[in-house]
């Protein structure tokens, strides 16, 4: 199945500004191995490696000079990184910061450290927790045995520490069930003592491990210049953000396994148009979805 088209035929998204910088801080390393993971992370995947604190600092300094609004850390699982707390400290001095985690490694002691960072900063520290079902029967076949309970325990630690975690769900169901599932998540979280549940639903990107779980993109799901006619490029996160990994600066958090999506060594050099030649671009275009909070 073809998942990209010749670059010359693809419409380009302009680089409007650098509002958001992502860090693939734990590379593609994760303690889980979710079946829909669009970047196919796992315990041994070193396609992208851990980023050391000094290198993150360098990119943060450059981001600040470019007027970055907010910063996101993801992986893999960021809390596998032994310097993560220090790195978050560096980030929170510069900008509002979000961490995307599966929460399975969070302990009360670690949450206390995070709360101290949060309270010392003028900016919000957001914790985003991934969960993919309202029962173990729904979640665990996708995310792995026992992950439902482990993740909810982590989310409860966050809640106990005064965080309002955003539970992030990948949409693996039909649109028709949307409202019911959303309410289901709210009820589940309330039942676990999380009084003010926040739930974000992300579309499924049919790449990485997900491409083999279901199917990849069909040729008609590729963008042509006509798709961008009258479309506000602002709605695509790649017009205002970039992703930094151990291997350089990529156009967005979704395409880090696509060699042509690597744009430069530095953020500044990466601020140029990008051809939307990939199946995943169609999902962004059609849903208007953003990986931001």
């Amino acid at each position: 199945m073809r998942s990209s088209i010749p670059l010359a035929q693809a419409p380009a998204v302009p680089a409007l500004a650098l509002d958001t910088v992502w860090f693939q801080v734990a590379g593609t390393l994760c303690n889980l191995r979710c079946r829909h993971c669009f970047i196919a992370c796992g315990p041994t995947n070193r396609a992208h490696d851990y980023m050391d604190r000094e290198s993150v600092r360098g990119h943060l300094r450059e981001a600040e000079s470019l007027g970055v609004r907010d910063v996101y850390f993801t992986g893999g699982e960021p809390f596998l990184h032994r310097d993560l707390v220090g790195i978050l400290d560096d980030a929170l001095r510069i900008a509002p910061t979000s961490v995307l985690t599966n929460a399975t490694l969070l302990t009360p002691a670690l949450v206390r450290e995070l709360a101290a960072l949060r309270d010392a900063s003028r900016y919000s520290l957001e914790m985003r927790v991934s969960l993919d079902g309202i029962t173990p029967e729904q979640n665990d076949p996708i995310r792995g045995p026992g992950t439902f309970d482990d993740t909810l325990r982590g989310a409860q630690h966050l809640s106990d520490g005064g965080f309002l975690p955003i539970i992030t769900v990948t949409q693996t169901w039909d649109d028709a069930d949307d409202r019911r599932l959303r309410e289901g998540f709210h009820a589940l979280l309330r039942a676990r003592g999380i009084e003010r549940p926040r739930v974000k639903i992300l579309p499924l990107f049919k790449i990485g491990r997900e491409a083999s779980r279901t199917r990849g993109y069909a040729p008609e799901e590729l963008l042509t210049p006509a798709h961008m006619d009258g479309y506000d490029p602002w709605l695509l996160q790649c017009s205002t953000s970039r992703m930094v990994t151990s291997r350089g600066v990529y156009v967005c958090p979704i395409l880090i396994n696509v060699p042509s999506a690597r744009m430069a060594e530095t953020l500044g050099a990466s601020l140029r148009p990008f051809p939307l030649a990939h199946g995943a671009c169609h999902t962004c275009w059609a849903t208007g979805a953003t990986c931001r909070n």
Binding site: G67, A95, L125
Partner: protein, 270 residues
């Protein structure tokens, strides 16, 4: 942003009242304008979003006219003027959008063609010089009418970039409904004036506006009490959603909460 009005005049050196979204709360707006008059405001600005949330949106227009308020278009005003199908608030969450749709439909039904035409004449921003500083007044941000500038979600670096791109020393905005200001390194100031029509999610029913006293470039945030019970009763009579009425009475936001960053959300009750 496309249409920016540039103002000149000695009165700009005097006291200036900066009012955020009235959201159809004509009782609060009247009280705010009266407070500004008592302070001797030389000029009054409203930063847009006249409709939504409250009852009888038509009551806002004569109040603005009577006090000669210079008004900027908010996303709500743009949507009504252009007969769009939603308020263009920029919410991204279905729960937020649910209530946003209800209040937009109500305001849309109660807006006349004449009012739409007038909204269509409003500028997207206003510029002037005051005390040697370049002011830019806008609704959301200098670059997007519906961009949310929340205190805990805007880095210094970002605000400095916005000010530099807008060639402004002071940016004044609303759209979030929560007031704050920040003096940035180098002297740039950002003032979010909050909302004159909706309480500030702090458990108190009063509303707020921003006041620049003569000779001062630092804003004072002025709490304004008004007959919120009468407003609540009027909203009930118009059968507006009960959660909106609860906000007017209790001062806590009950809807459109998903857009709030962690810190602002944690301060509220819901």
């Amino acid at each position: 942003m496309t249409r920016i009005a540039t103002l000149q005049g000695d009165e700009l050196e005097g006291g200036i009242a900066l009012l955020g979204g009235p959201y159809s709360n004509h009782r609060a707006l009247r009280a705010g304008l009266e407070d500004a008059r008592r302070r001797g405001a030389a000029r009054i600005f409203c930063l847009g979003d006249l409709g939504g949330f409250g009852p009888n949106p038509g009551a806002i227009y004569p109040l603005l006219a009577a006090r000669d308020v210079t008004t900027i278009a908010g996303n709500y005003d743009r949507s009504l003027a252009e007969r769009l199908h939603d308020c263009g608030c920029g919410y991204t969450h279905p729960d937020d959008n649910h209530y946003a749709r209800l209040s937009y439909a109500y305001t849309d039904r109660h807006t006349t063609d004449e009012q739409r035409a007038w909204l269509g004449t409003l500028p997207d921003g206003v510029r002037f010089e005051r005390g040697g500083r370049r002011y830019l007044l806008c609704h959301g941000s200098p670059r997007r009418t519906n961009e949310f500038l929340w205190e805990s979600a805007c880095s210094d670096a970002f605000l400095l970039r916005l000010a530099r791109d807008a060639e402004a020393d002071t940016i004044v905005c609303t759209h979030t409904g929560l007031h704050w200001q920040r003096l940035l390194p180098g002297g740039v100031r950002v003032i979010n004036v909050g909302s004159i029509g909706r309480p500030a999610n702090d458990g108190r029913p009063n509303v707020w506006y921003a006041w620049l006293a003569p000779g001062s470039e630092e804003a004072a945030f002025i709490p304004v009490d008004y007959d919120h019970e009468a407003m609540a009763a009027e909203m009930e009579a118009e059968r507006l959603p009960a959660p909106f009425v609860e906000t007017i009475r209790g001062g806590w936001w009950t809807t459109c909460l998903e857009i709030l960053p962690a810190r602002e959300r944690a301060r509220g009750r819901f």
